[in-house]
C-alpha cells in the first residue's frame, strides 16, 4: 500500500541542552507539529517572535486524515505565506451528488459567489498540508523545530511553564514564558495537567480508505444514504490530489475495527460500490470513532490549548483542522501583544471566550450532521428518510438534507472586543464578522482585499476619489499609526491616489463598497486576524483609539 506519496523523514538533531548539560529557555514553546502547531509557530515567527516547536515524531501525517481545507483556512494560510502551493496541489470540487438507496435524489453546484480569491474549499491530503507548512516554517530563521522530542512532564507556574523533554539522547529541561499545546485529541499534556475535556462519544465507527483510481472518475462529492451496496449506513466519496479518492464507510458500533481494516474485507466493499469493472488500488485504511467535546477554558495561565487538544468534533463538515488553524489565527496576535507588554493577560481570556464560542458552533453543526446521517431512533430515521424522499422534488427539503455543513468562520458577534455599532449599516460585516474578500488594485500589486489586510490593526476609510481626500482627514488617518498599538490607515476608493503617507486601495469591481456598505467617510477598524472590530459612518480618531483599546482589553 501507499504509493503516491513519499513520506519525508525529518532529521533528529541532538538538542544543545543535552550537549551542554543545561536547562534551556525560550519565550514560546509549542508542542505538536501538526497543522495547528505549525500554523501557530509560523504566525509567531513571522511576527518576529522566536519559537521552539517540539514534536515526538519525525514525519508528517500518516494517511490522508484531514482532507478538506475551507476558504477561511486558505485565507489564514495566505497570511502565513503558504496557501498558493496547497491550492495548486489540491482539488476543488463544486458538484455534489446525494443518493438515497438506489436513486440520485439531487445534485448541487456550489458555484461560489464571484470575486473571492479562494474557493469554498479544497481537498488535499493532510500530509501535503503539513509538508508545505514545514517547508514554510524552515524559511523562518527564528523558528526551530525539533523532531523526536517528546514532552514527558510539564510544571506550570505563574510566570512560566517548565517542560521535561525526552529524546533519543536522553531527557532535558526547557523553560518557556508561554506554552502552546497543540498535541492533538488525546493531548498528553492536557492529561499531565489533569485538565478535563467534556462532551459525548458517538457510538459509531467509520472506515476510511484512500483509493487510487486507474481510470477517470469525476471530481465530485458523492454521498449515499442507505445505498444498496452498504445497507442502512452512509458512504462518502471524494477526490484528493494525485487521483487518490477518499471513501468513508459508516460501519456502526458493533464491528471489530481490526477485522474491518483488512484489505480482504475492504476491497469487496469498494468493489460493490464502484461496480466490479473499475480498477483501483488501496493506499491506506483506517477505522475511527469520534467525540464531540471541548475544554471549559482554552487558556490556563501560561498554558494555551489549541486545535484538537482543546476541542473535538465529528468529522462531518471538516471542522477539525480548519477550526484548529482558526484558533491560532485568533490566539497569536493576542499573545504577541501580551508578550510585548502592550495588552494585559486578560486579552488571552478573550482567546478562550471567542474560540469556545466557535468550538460550540462547530460541535453544534457537526452533531446535527451526525444526527442526520446516523439517526438514533426509529422516528428520527423516518424523518430523515422523509426529507430525502421529498428532496428530489422540493427545494425546501433539499435545504434540510444535512450530509455535513462545511467549515465556515464564526461571526464573533458577542465578543467583548467588539465596539457596538452606533450607525446604521446594511449587510453582514458587523463587528465580530470575519471579513469578506473582494478584488482590489494596489500600487504594490495586491489584488485581493484579504491580502491587503491582516497581521496588524488597520482602518479602511472610504472616499470615491482618493485624490479628493481633504488635508485634515489625511492628517487624522496618518496620525493613527503613532500609538502604542499602531493602526495602519488604508484609503479605499474608486479612483485617485491618497495623499502622501497613506495607502490607496482601489475597489476594482465595486465589491468592497457593496459587501461593506461603504459611503463617503465610512471607516472600518480591522483586527490583525481579519475580523471587524468597529465601524462608523464618520471618521473620529478618538473613537478609533477607544475601539482599539477595547479590542485589546486596554479600555
Amino acid at each position: 500500500m501507499l504509493s503516491t506519496f513519499q513520506y519525508p523523514k525529518f532529521e533528529y538533531v541532538r538538542p544543545p541542552e543535552i550537549a551542554e548539560g543545561k536547562e534551556g529557555y525560550y519565550p514560546v514553546v509549542i508542542v505538536g507539529a501538526g497543522p495547528v502547531g505549525l500554523s501557530a509557530a509560523i504566525d509567531l515567527a513571522q511576527q518576529g517572535q522566536s519559537v521552539l516547536l517540539l514534536d515526538n515524531d519525525d514525519t508528517v501525517s500518516i494517511g490522508s486524515r484531514g482532507v478538506c481545507y475551507a476558504k477561511r483556512t486558505l485565507e489564514v494560510l495566505d497570511r502565513l505565506g503558504c496557501a498558493d502551493e496547497m491550492v495548486q496541489k489540491g482539488v476543488s470540487w463544486n458538484v455534489g451528488r446525494t443518493f438515497f438507496r438506489e436513486e440520485e435524489v439531487f445534485n448541487f453546484n456550489l458555484c461560489p459567489e464571484p470575486d473571492h480569491h479562494r474557493p469554498g474549499m479544497i481537498n488535499l491530503q493532510q500530509y501535503y498540508l503539513e509538508d508545505d507548512l514545514i517547508k514554510r516554517a524552515r524559511q523562518l530563521p527564528n523558528l526551530e523545530i525539533r523532531f523526536k522530542n517528546n514532552v514527558i512532564g510539564v510544571t506550570p507556574a505563574d510566570d512560566r511553564a517548565t517542560l521535561r523533554v525526552e529524546t533519543p539522547d536522553g531527557a532535558y529541561t526547557v523553560r518557556a514564558d508561554w506554552l502552546i499545546v497543540a498535541d492533538g485529541a488525546r493531548s498528553p499534556i492536557r492529561t499531565m495537567l489533569g485538565l478535563d475535556i467534556d462532551g459525548k462519544i458517538f457510538m459509531d465507527r467509520f472506515l476510511i480508505a484512500d483509493v487510487v483510481m486507474k481510470a477517470d472518475f469525476p471530481t465530485e462529492r458523492w454521498f449515499w444514504f442507505d445505498p444498496p451496496f452498504h445497507r442502512n449506513q452512509s458512504v462518502l466519496l471524494h477526490r484528493q490530489a494525485d487521483n487518490v479518492f477518499r471513501i468513508d464507510f459508516q460501519l456502526g458500533w458493533n464491528v471489530d475495527p481490526e477485522v474491518e481494516k483488512k484489505p480482504e474485507k475492504v476491497i469487496p466493499r469498494i468493489k460493490a460500490m464502484l461496480g466490479d469493472d473499475r480498477e483501483f488500488e488501496l493506499e491506506w485504511v483506517s477505522v475511527y470513532t469520534f467525540q464531540c467535546r471541548r475544554m471549559n477554558s482554552f487558556n490556563h495561565g501560561r498554558v494555551l490549548f489549541v486545535g484538537d487538544a482543546a476541542h473535538q468534533v465529528s468529522p462531518f463538515g471538516a471542522r477539525g483542522a480548519n477550526s484548529g488553524i482558526q484558533d491560532t489565527d485568533n490566539l497569536v496576535w493576542k499573545l504577541k501583544l501580551v508578550m510585548d507588554g502592550k495588552a494585559p493577560a486578560t486579552l488571552l481570556d478573550t482567546y478562550s471566550e471567542e474560540r469556545c464560542y466557535a468550538a460550540d458552533e462547530n460541535i453544534m453543526n457537526s452533531t446535527r450532521s451526525t444526527d442526520f446521517i446516523t439517526p438514533k431512533s426509529t422516528v428520527s430515521t423516518t424523518f430523515r428518510n422523509a426529507v430525502l424522499g421529498l428532496a428530489e422534488q422540493f427545494p425546501f427539503a433539499r435545504a434540510l438534507v444535512n450530509s455535513g455543513r462545511l467549515s465556515v468562520p464564526s461571526f464573533l458577534v458577542g465578543s467583548r472586543l467588539n465596539t457596538a455599532d452606533s450607525d446604521v449599516f446594511a449587510g453582514t460585516m458587523i463587528p465580530g464578522a470575519p471579513m469578506d474578500d473582494a478584488p482590489v488594485a494596489m500600487a504594490d500589486g495586491t489584488q485581493w482585499l484579504l491580502r491587503a489586510v491582516g497581521n496588524r490593526f488597520q482602518l479602511l476609510h472610504y472616499i470615491p476619489d482618493a485624490s479628493a481626500l481633504d488635508a485634515p482627514t489625511a492628517q487624522a488617518l496618518r496620525s493613527l499609526v503613532d500609538a502604542q498599538i499602531p493602526v495602519e490607515a488604508i484609503v479605499v476608493a474608486e479612483r485617485g491616489t491618497a495623499p502622501a503617507g497613506l495607502k490607496t486601495l482601489i475597489d476594482a469591481k465595486g465589491r468592497v463598497r457593496e459587501r461593506y456598505d461603504l459611503r463617503e467617510g465610512t471607516s472600518y477598524l480591522l483586527r490583525p486576524d481579519q475580523h471587524v472590530a468597529a465601524r462608523w459612518r464618520v471618521l473620529d480618531v478618538a473613537r478609533v483609539r477607544a475601539a482599539v483599546a477595547r479590542a485589546t482589553c486596554n479600555a
Binding site: 431512533s377 424523518f383 421529498l390 422534488q393 425546501f396
Partner: protein
C-alpha cells in the same frame, strides 16, 4: 394560496449568517421533541403536531395539497 415548497424557515429576532442554519435549527428542535419517547409516543406527538400546524395554516386547500404530496411518497 399554493403550498410553499421553497425554503421558508426563519425565527423572529434571530439573525442567521448561514443559509443552512434556520433549517438545521428547526430540524434539531423537531428531533429533540421526540427524544427518549417510545415509537408509540412519537406517533402521537406527530399526530398532535400535524393538527396544531394544520389549524395554524388554516387554508384547507393548502393542507389538501400537502396531504396529497405526503401520501404519494408513503
Amino acid at each position: 394560496m399554493a403550498l410553499n415548497t421553497q425554503p421558508n424557515l426563519h425565527e423572529p429576532g434571530k439573525r442567521h449568517f448561514r443559509a443552512f442554519s434556520p433549517g438545521d435549527d428547526f430540524y434539531e428542535a423537531l428531533i429533540d421533541t421526540h427524544r427518549d419517547l417510545t415509537d408509540e409516543q412519537s406517533a402521537m406527538v406527530n399526530a398532535r403536531l400535524i393538527l396544531l400546524l394544520a389549524n395554524h395554516i388554516g387554508d384547507i386547500s393548502v393542507l389538501r395539497e400537502a396531504m396529497q404530496i405526503a401520501r404519494e411518497g408513503a
